[in-house]
Symmetry: none
Amino acid sequence: MSEPIPKKRRRNQQTHLAIMQAAATLVEERGYSKVSIEAIAKHAGAGKQTIYRWWTNKAYLFLEVYLSLVSEEKLSVDTGDVSDDLETLLNTLFGIYQETPAALILTGLVQEAQTDEKIRQHIVDMLISKRRGVVGGVFERAIARQEIHPDTNINLVVDMISGAIWLRLFLRHEPLDRTFAQQLSQQVIAGIRL
Amino acid sequence: MSEPIPKKRRRNQQTHLAIMQAAATLVEERGYSKVSIEAIAKHAGAGKQTIYRWWTNKAYLFLEVYLSLVSEEKLSVDTGDVSDDLETLLNTLFGIYQETPAALILTGLVQEAQTDEKIRQHIVDMLISKRRGVVGGVFERAIARQEIHPDTNINLVVDMISGAIWLRLFLRHEPLDRTFAQQLSQQVIAGIRL
Amino acid sequence: MSEPIPKKRRRNQQTHLAIMQAAATLVEERGYSKVSIEAIAKHAGAGKQTIYRWWTNKAYLFLEVYLSLVSEEKLSVDTGDVSDDLETLLNTLFGIYQETPAALILTGLVQEAQTDEKIRQHIVDMLISKRRGVVGGVFERAIARQEIHPDTNINLVVDMISGAIWLRLFLRHEPLDRTFAQQLSQQVIAGIRL
Amino acid sequence: MSEPIPKKRRRNQQTHLAIMQAAATLVEERGYSKVSIEAIAKHAGAGKQTIYRWWTNKAYLFLEVYLSLVSEEKLSVDTGDVSDDLETLLNTLFGIYQETPAALILTGLVQEAQTDEKIRQHIVDMLISKRRGVVGGVFERAIARQEIHPDTNINLVVDMISGAIWLRLFLRHEPLDRTFAQQLSQQVIAGIRL
DNA sequence: CTATAACCGAGACGGTACGTCCGGTCTTACG
DNA sequence: CGTAAGACCGGACGTACCGTCTCGGTTATAG
């Protein structure tokens, strides 16, 4: 996956977890850029080398932490109605972002992506695949149900949804709440409904 | 400007400019997080102290650089048609992002905003005001012209537009080109057209 | 004298004094090496430039301060007896070192002398001349009175006296008190008495 | 040594030596006060942190360097005659001061002692112990041999010798040569010979 | 059932940059 | 026009982490 794992890795699962949790804890309390590998190691009671053994750098470590927080299964939904599907999905997602440091990690990873092309690719793949599997599914089923235009530019629509969310995630100028979930899904569907 | 300058300060305008330009050059060549104040100072032929005298930290310096790159005047538009207005606006904006390191700076600032509440507020204010003045204006005139719903949630729509752009700006999974400008404005207007 | 004063100096005597006094005060409270020109200027209510205008550097400023503290007149003595002369002289000197920051300044100047040949020369001249005029006088009169050997190596003897004092001045391992004055003069005279 | 090294520390002896030698080299070429930790680190090919890890500050580093230059063994002497002992001792010492930067370091340490009480204590202890072991020994044996007064104030006499040396060391107004060694020991012994 | 190799914590190491202080020079505005 | 105020470039401070590198000590297969 993200890190080059030798075949017969004998990695200590306990330490591995302790590191991930330390990373999650620290990012929550001081933000991505202020979390140092040194601090994670100390907090996890691990040696720095142990971290560098399993992850290339901070970005890959946090990529794994992010994935463990925002897993695809948590977001699966199928109510039989686009509007409901979308709204439920958004509310679930907002919940995750409220309860976990996923947002802080995401901004950090995005920042890393500006410099590190590999990390960028990983993030894009991760988001695209998640999107295809989850959000895309909602619209594909909606097309099948003939709720929305069959030639809807799903990628574009999904970019608009994700984008609006990112904006609030990153700027926190307005809350990611139920009202927003409703307004956003309504506005989007208004543009593509049959 | 970003910081309130008391009258007494006798700042050297030449040095000031050299620093801003060095910052812009360096961010372009190595990305926000890898630009050090030390490097900017050296590149500008300035002392570090001089930078710290006028800007609290890297974030404020780059906020000023960003504002100098993406000024409101450059984005003003009024063709008499929502679609045209929006498309023109987007194309202008995309041009700036292609020709300047504004995108790299923006991601950096967003990252800073996660940790520094003051910077977050500054960024939000800057974007909100820009949006009100420019993008908001497009839709207000459109409402006046009765092109779009008078009760359009402009803030939401603008969040969707900005968000979709940010997504491509940050992830670079798809280009910010004329096609995108067209598709995006069409999709948005489709949801609010009378 | 110590500083290169242009002929038509129009130096403000008040400021001049304030600077010297600030220097004396600060050296007393934090030691020679921790006194900065910046601090002296601020403490004296003067501009840094003003200091640099009148003294080449910290060393010259303090050389002048030192001379103002340990002037030759204060040390003149003539009781008619070597022992008494020497003891009185030493007690007077010890008094000055106890009441003024002269000792702190002297160590500083000595330190500067290691690097700056000009300062070294100034200090040597100052001390040699003082010694010739004051301590040397004591022994010359003693020779005239036939109290001590006429071929006494006065320079050597004076070096031994000054040296023993410097040692206690610099190391503070033993006090510069009346007992020491007595023992020192006795020990010295024991080696040269007729 | 100057600092108590806990067992756990696994200090790199090679680096340690390189730092000490760099310090010695640099103090020789530019004098104590102009040697920066930064320069020592660079010259030794070491990180600054490594220096700060093992020595509290410049003073302690140079204290160790000084001790390595002026070790007690080098000065041990026992000819069976006070005069010879003393003269030999002085000539050995003068040799060290001529061949090594010990004098430059000593003035630096004396300067530090004015500000830092701990360093002062260290220096005093070092000199006192050295004096007791070496110079003191010379006079004790002389008393045993009944060459000098049994109630000689050894401390005072040693202060006079050391002091006279320091004076020439610091002021360089006269050389530390064989003539001086001879005159000094003769003059001293003249005051205490039975 | 060893033994041996990968694991682990600890932390030293050469570096880079931080944000601050001060040195010594130069500029501005007041009195 | 001398002075205070203080901006300026530059160099060093002492600190925090980076990512690499031993160092012993501890598992946990593979022989």
